[in-house]
Amino acid sequence: MSATVFVPRDSAALAVGADATANAIVQSAAARGEEIRLVRNGSRGLFWLEPLVEVATATGRIAYGPVTAADVPGLFDAGFLTGAKHALLRGPTEDIPYLKNQERLAFARVGVTDPLSLADYEAHGGWRGLHGALARGPAEIVDDVVRSGLRGRGGAAFPTGIKWRTVLQTEADQKYVVCNADEGDSGTFSDRMVMEGDPFLLIEGMTIAGLAVGATRGYVYLRSEYPDAERMFAAALRIAREAGYLGPNILGSGKPFDLELRRGAGAYICGEETALLESLEGKRGMVRYRPPVPAVKGLFGRPTVLNNLVTFASVPVILERGADFYRDYGMGRSRGTLPFQLAGNIQRGGLVEKAFGLTLRELLYDYGGGSATGRPIRAVQVGGPLGAYLPESQFDTPLDYEAFAAIGAMLGHGGVVAFDDTVDMAKMARFAMEFCAIESCGKCTPCRIGSTRGAEVIDRLVSGERREANVELLRDLCDTMVHGSLCALGGLTPSPVLSALNHFPEDFGMPAVPKARAA
């Protein structure tokens, strides 16, 4: 009997040599006359173990990692095809604590299945949400999503069901479903992992959205920095269309829905929903004034459901297992799970899907194992480049939308970037302004000009020039950006800047925050 071996084809696994490992396995197997079946799965999201090789055994899948091509002959010698002992043996994959303690709803299949196998998708619960949706009417689907408590996973956390209801209730000759896969936040990769590891899930989620609001066409706006994801998703679209999951008559229901994949062109601002719509329409990615909101007047002026990829990926399980099932996860008004992404200077970086409510400290230490360099973690940026920097005194904050808002921070898209004590927070604050200047669409003055002036003020401040006056000027400028910017880019750039200044004034040449106050 031939053994089944899994080697991920997720781009982050490829980035650390997964292809070379896979080739070595195929060659060694051939040389030794061992018959194997190689499956290129998505990543389990345990990136410090990548390339993570798994072998299917009678007692479940057994993991080895990180496996380089050079390790492969040794693995064969040890008899890894039967799950034998080896220095890289990690035991049954599902029992690795990092994975075992997660609550994977959206990511249930990622890393488990062959991403382009419809048979795998179906065998692991795929399309059940879609069947559930086809059995219900639009209003019922929307109702389920409202009751689930699902909020937008792109960062703004707006209730998804309410948005869908608005689109459903807006009359139009054409409506659209648009997926924001312009995952530009540093420290985030969950959208990418779904597109590469379980692309049919996104197709299913968007199709359900189409059925819910009466939209027949959808677009996925994917950033150009993800070429592997683009290839995988394009292939998944072809396969789904050929099998009748997309097209004029979805699964014989008589209902049409089809999707198109579009590539961005390196503009961070196009992750902002109205800039994204402009870009899809073939224009410069300039932010639109709101109202009207996209749910009323979106793509090509038509009502549009525009959600982040993880939002769509969270929908099938709600339709399959019910709103209450989903709602039972989480705390307060943050219901369900969020795929957190542990990144940067962290020992065990990866994807951790958990119900809202665990603390940042649990995530950083119980999962992340502390910094990669072994030095103390000094600051953590949560929620991407527009998220606040949190000092150690705030690590016990529960990961919950409201709890984070209460300390002037945000969860955003769930990205968590750790920095050790060698970080210069004045530099990070300056970078936030610099990044805003590079990526500003230029439509509003506070963002376009403020970001450049902000970087200059920080330079003067750090050089010791009229320190008090420049601190005041920086705060005043940030206030203008917060209240005067059109969108979150200019409006939230002050968040990393001011949190750095407030929590780490010593890096700006000022007295440190006294310990008692810091706590």
């Binding site: 961005g264 961070y268 329409e281 200077n345």
Partner: protein
Amino acid sequence: MGEAKSNVSMAVDEAIEQALAETEGLDGALMPLLHAIQDRLGYIPTSAVARVAHALNLSRADVHGVITFYHDFRTSAPGRHLVRLCQAEACQSMGSAALAEHAKARLGVDFHHTTTDGAVTLEPVYCLGGCACSPTMMVDGRLYGRVSSARFDEVMSGLGDA
């Protein structure tokens, strides 16, 4: 003028026509069209602007405006290899600034420039989605993680003509 068109400009024209055919009938076709041209040529030649504007019933200013808005679109040919070093926060936390200094010194160019032999164009990029394996870089569309200076040199040597 009256001279026969050069082979280069004929190849450019052909690429533009192919790109137009490939994206015909798409709603909001400009972005896919510009990508289709750049995918073929490596850049968007100035001569494409009028043709694209005409085909999509846009003004040349509209097309120029879109090309110049997006970081990805370039109006001159890049080097034979495109090296993009991630300079976003997660990679910064793992030493991307030092890696960038090393890369600039080794290649002898700053960001946004091409080596004098035309082999490598060096660009900064803000996130490649490999943030759990920082620092990262992308070379000709391929992602590399946990990139040390030594690993960078190894990859550059592997390019052959770089």
